[in-house]
Amino acid sequence: MASGVKPRVKVPKKAAAGDVITIKSLISHKMESGQRKDKEGNLIPRSIINRFTVEFNGQSVLDMTMEPAISTNPYVQFEATVPEAGDFVFTWYDDDGSVYDTTKSVAIG
């Protein structure tokens, strides 16, 4: 597991049913591209987050495949529909097999 990985997600606490909300997500991760070399000239092995998924009450919102060309601390902004109260589940998949996730609840009101 890469060190210092911390997911941060911004989701409104409340929304009207059927509303489209904007979600901002960021996870601190070095996203080593596998192209860089260390001081001795050896390639630093690739270590990135290769997949990011968002689900709301089990239904898919976004499924994103990431390549090394995504910047350090991957940031993604997108929009989601909220049909009812429930939970957004955000999941990041690391190259080394680690899975990071976080959950945000949205109330209707």
């Binding site: 489209v20 192209q35 689900e55 060309a69 995504i70 929009e79 529909t81």
Partner: protein
Amino acid sequence: MEFSRRDTLALGLGAAVVTVLPFSVNAAADDVIATFTGGADMGDAGIDLTAPEIAENGNTVPVEVSAPGASAILLVATGNPTPGVAQFNFGPLAGSQSASTRIRLAGTQDVVAIAKLADGSFAKASSTVKVTIGGCGG
């Protein structure tokens, strides 16, 4: 040194190869695109790609893609060592088929976005980004 007819021809041929070479860099990018589209033709309506004209730092270039009704959007940086950047697959609860993120660019190049539209056709948009400092280290 005197140039014979043969030498001159060889020189001209060499020059031609050098000018054609930069295009072969795009072959890898074309492969990535072909895998996504299956070789289908691409229109240019129905997709928007927003990228800066000049990026001072190639390590974080903000880009935004939007394609109403699309089921998937592929983002490709044609001049990167690995041209694929990201693929967005939108689920039934996506509020709009748009997303923005930050990408790395190795140098001045074209960024291409391709959307798979609702009717199964593909649309392509591209934007040239000038990069002052490349973002691939090394």
